[in-house]
Amino acid sequence: MKNMLVAENVTKTFDGLVAVNRVNIVVKENTFTMLIGPNGCGKTTLINCCTGILKPTSGRVLFEDIDITGWKPHEIYRVGFVRSFQIPLPFIGLTVIDNVLGAMRNPGEAPFKAPLLKKWAHVEEENMSRAMDILARVGLEKHWDLPSSALGAAQLKMLEVAKGLSSGAKLIALDEPIGGVDPASAHEILSHVSRLKEEGLTFLVVEHRIDIAAPFADYIYAMELGTLISEGPPDKVLNDPKVIEVYLGKEVEAC
């Protein structure tokens, strides 16, 4: 399996505070790779550094062997690496389907072509047809024409995934896809995601509700205080004393 994403020695400091400290991760193609760790351990900061929201202080980020360190988010998006946000950020003034369409490109985005329906309508129709397929894959096809502000929390999470899919991305980074979602919907979301993985996509998932998410993972990285403390297949990481310590405090012996 080839490497989709490689982060080499990524370090990010804020005013002298080290949020991410020389972290190395590798996301292999067609895997569900999980990044776990307690609140404030630097998971989201790491994802932000990889997807261009933040610029790493040092280190390199490679996507399919292209150095994407310091690229802008829309440039990283173009090479096929997209992300979702922990708190869903839908475009509330748009319908569900337009939220998905917004991530697809269309000649009608050029100012001189935009007023001329003929120049872009056929592409838009194709896109829309594709968008409907994507919505069906995440279980939102019935809500395509609702304003996205009318969706519930779990649906918004799936909309984020759909936005990622619509770009034709190869790697999708999901920041807490099941945070704030009830356990039943969380299972549903993750089964959708794992079905998409079967179809050939790669996922990098940040999540701390490992009780629900771990069974879906192929490989887990655990972080604490900005550094990696463990990595490997789920069995290995979740039984790693260091990980248990982070999650349980010091009283492992008590159990």
Partner: protein, 255 residues
Amino acid sequence: MLTVRKLNAGYGKLQVLYDLSIEVPAKGLTVVVGPNGAGKTTLLCSIMNIAKVFSGEILFEGNSLIGELTHNLAQKGIAYVPQMGNVFAGLSVMDNLHMAGYMLSKAEADAKAEQMTEIFPVLKKFIHRSAGTLSGGERRMLAIAMGLMKNPKLMLLDELSTDLAPIIAERVMMEVARMRDELGITILMVEQMAKRALEIGDTAYLLVSGQVKYSGQANSLLHEPELCSMYLGIKQLPGQGETKLSVAEEGSEGN
């Protein structure tokens, strides 16, 4: 003293707590434990009307707290020590203590502040420094002192042991137990350092993914081997055999 019934709460659209019911008996120490992201902090925030309550009941001494403004809650005798942002970084240590005792008279506040500096000598040393210059541990001490300043009937403590050296954490825990024993303060404590908390606590609740998975005597909860697996969310730890799901069900019925 405090009763929470069928609470559904969260932030904006995100729901974090699902039909959560807990009971905090007067003059007791109630401990809420659970993995990251279980909604422990959100529980305290919904009591303080900081998070959004979607439905359910919160009763304090028989009166509903839903919709009460936060500062009125403080005047009713509920003190809240948040995990993050628990001191005023721009104010001196002395001012922090006085602000915490905002509802006390000048003389009372002075006396109480004096008492606090005796309990926490480190505060005396930095009394005129601004709280922003304190180290993590010192800040935490200040936060606890600020909670105690209020002479509360009910104290809500969020993750006291964060950032504290083990020895100091131990002392803080003893201090909490002493507050219950000597001052007769009712305490609702959310804690990551589960073992110590459960040792000193009276009643305990285990929160997982926004739902109560276990409730009962703090001590007996400590002796449940499932605790470990519950925390980590692994259904089967190697060598442990089948999980006793019945325990969890019993627990939720116990509410």
